[in-house]
Symmetry: C2
Subunit: 416 residues, 2 copies
């Protein structure tokens, strides 16, 4: 069996044998970027490997009892709802539960703007498909979530990049993206970004909304990690702040997911959009997969209704805080000033940079030899990569392994 490909793991099967016919694939599908690091990352599951590379939540945090109870209840009491075809927009009970989650986040939005998606990856693809014509531009952060870049490229977008710093995207540079035809949208992970972990500052959020209204450019806020804050103070989502900026609600979409808070295996995400955008997205979603798994949606709805999520999030935040602190302390101890990073306030990622300019892509084979894995920062740049950066996920690494991980990384650096 060909080694399987896993989310956030770039292992590719071997190239087809020489006698394979030459199939007439579409150019953009054929050119869908393969990462040069796939061959390394397929080793993430190797015995003894400490992987800081994945974007997987810690499996120990899944509320197995709560989900088993929710599932049993659904199949006992609502089997037809869980097993039959459903509405493209999502199961009514889940839609209500997600609206309630949005209200807790400060977003009081119209029901006809909500669309359940097959994970928020599908939400990203849907927005690409409803907005992008080949050659259109889209604004992304620099660096940016890789799978969003892939979806936009597959739709034929040219990417314009916005620099980022410790306060997230430098929105004062947005006007630089206005030289040609207006971008179709701005996409950003606003809170605990992937890969940088940075959070867009409150004042920048307001500035971004004012810019969006002024230039009539749609803004897509992707927020899978916002509930995982373990330090600092919460910043409201753009769509919550839109109430303060006249017209902004028309130019603002919000994406979220249960993958990092409940369980990624459900593949349940959702979008809150202006109703006309949601209607267009729903029409296209029907063509993509008719609807998201009714079983997964009903289980998610029952779980959210059970009231167990808040306690599960308390546990997740505590664990990720402990793991982030342990990894940060180990890195400081082993590397000192040679490795620069900001302490994350939430989410799953620590973004670092070697002060001496070490090329982290070139370092990866040495790391692999030491049985430690990370993602070289170059994987997250749509243009001109900063090669001394790397993304370290603490989500799957218990505190007691942090020092060993840092030690292996140090040995790789010494050997590299």
């Amino acid at each position: 069996m060909t080694p399987p490909r896993r989310h956030d793991d770039f292992a590719a099967p071997p190239p087809p044998a020489a006698e394979t016919p030459c199939y007439p694939f579409a150019a953009r599908a054929r050119d869908l970027k393969r990462s040069e690091i796939r061959e390394f990352l397929r080793h993430a599951g190797r015995p003894g490997m400490i992987s800081l590379a994945g974007g997987l939540p810690a499996a120990e945090l899944f509320d197995r009892d709560g989900l088993a109870a929710a599932t049993a209840m659904v199949l006992r009491e609502r089997p037809a709802a869980a097993l039959q075809y459903g509405m493209t927009e999502g199961q009514p009970r889940l839609r209500e539960a997600l609206s309630a989650l949005l209200r807790e986040r400060g977003i009081a939005a119209a029901d006809d703007g909500l669309l359940v998606t097959t994970g928020s990856q599908q939400a990203i693809d849907l927005l690409a498909r409803i907005f992008i014509e080949p050659g259109d531009t889209v604004v992304v952060e620099r660096p940016c979530y890789l799978a969003a870049v892939q979806a936009f490229a597959l739709a034929g977008a040219r990417l314009l990049t916005l620099p980022t710093d410790a306060d997230g995207a430098c929105v004062d540079r947005l006007d630089d993206c206005l030289g040609g035809p207006p971008p179709k949208f701005v996409y950003l992970v606003s809170t605990f970004a992937n890969p940088t972990g940075a959070t867009l500052a409150h004042e920048r959020r307001l500035a971004l909304l004012r810019w969006a209204v002024r230039h009539r450019v749609f803004v897509v806020e992707d927020d899978p990690y916002g509930e995982l804050r373990f330090a600092g103070s919460a910043v409201p989502p753009l769509l919550a702040l839109a109430a303060e900026v006249p017209g902004a609600a028309d130019w603002c979409g919000y994406l979220s997911s249960l993958s990092k808070t409940v369980a990624p295996g459900l593949r349940v995400g959702w979008m809150q959009l202006p109703p006309a955008v949601a209607e267009q997205a729903g029409r296209v979603k029907q063509t993509l997969d008719l609807h998201t798994s009714s079983l997964a949606q009903e289980v998610a709805a029952a779980y959210l209704a059970s009231g167990r999520l808040p306690a599960a999030l308390v546990r997740a935040r505590a664990r990720y805080r402990d793991q982030a602190e342990a990894l940060a302390a180990a890195l400081r101890c082993r590397f000192g000033e040679r490795l620069q990073f900001a302490m994350p306030e939430g989410g799953m990622f620590l973004w670092a940079r070697f002060a001496d300019g070490t090329d982290t892509s070139a370092l990866l084979p040495a790391a692999l030899a030491q049985s430690v894995l990370y993602v070289p920062g170059a994987a997250f740049y749509a243009d001109a990569p900063e090669r001394a950066t790397l993304r370290l996920s603490y989500a799957g690494t218990p505190p007691e392994l942090a020092d060993e991980a840092a030690a292996r990384l140090a040995r790789a650096l010494a050997a590299g």
Copy 2:
């Protein structure tokens, strides 16, 4: 709340209010065809309505006990597999179970050609995305499954249509599709087609394979209904017959789904493709939704492993046979020679034609007034619709309602 949109139910939300901003949607998304019958079919759930319009399997046939047991087992014994991120290609246990199903259908195919999809609708969209460049041609049957037409149109394909008769697609007319650049693929529902219920004859299957090899054109066989045969003799899938035609296995893909045999709410479908095509499709699928719900996949795998499917299929075939016979008898009794149709041998649809040329789209309001619904045949034509045709699904209508359904249809015709 806006009335929700349901699979195979064309109800659309009301148009956006006048003050909605003009969003810069991509032309193909914006133009995604809306059916003119949506406004009628949103009434399918009205109290007292007998709907012959849907494509939904009978909910009473779902093996609730078997699925509840499978689900409980999965969450008890394999919670991490069901809740964590998984491989894009699908969960290993499900892949093994689906390979076993394929072998029962006469297909012994390479493991690296199998890709689990979020229903077979996603398989259709994936093939559209890997093959079609705007302006490319695709060959479909006339009439054809509507949501496939939509997916191909969304990808920018021009559709060439192949006439059909009682033996399925008239493959001797395929050369008519060779005037311009070669079509990217031929798509057909080979067994109990939607909407016609026809099955492609054995000899035509071989001719199609020989044509595909000769012209190096890919053939996509969509087979959601093949297991639901209740009369006549089985015809092997194209991919099973490919062993008899040198080179054909390279030009043949097979799509299937658990939606009509286990439960559509799982959203579990799959494709068996030549490995190079599967690799390309897997790369694109990762960008669409990372992977199909692990929970739904593990439940499906456990259910298939339980050995309960064969008995469930026996029940389904018996029920659909009874319902098809009851509806056919009622139609013959009420309409005689005025309504022409072939008795289906399986699947869910009876395809009929008014001998007097009655326009079934124009008849629909009168049918609605009589509380009976069907899908006017015009919905299934990519070009020049035959307006006297209609699709009647017997899947959801118990035998004791068949005569009342036919009587209402007759009253609608008398009033129309």
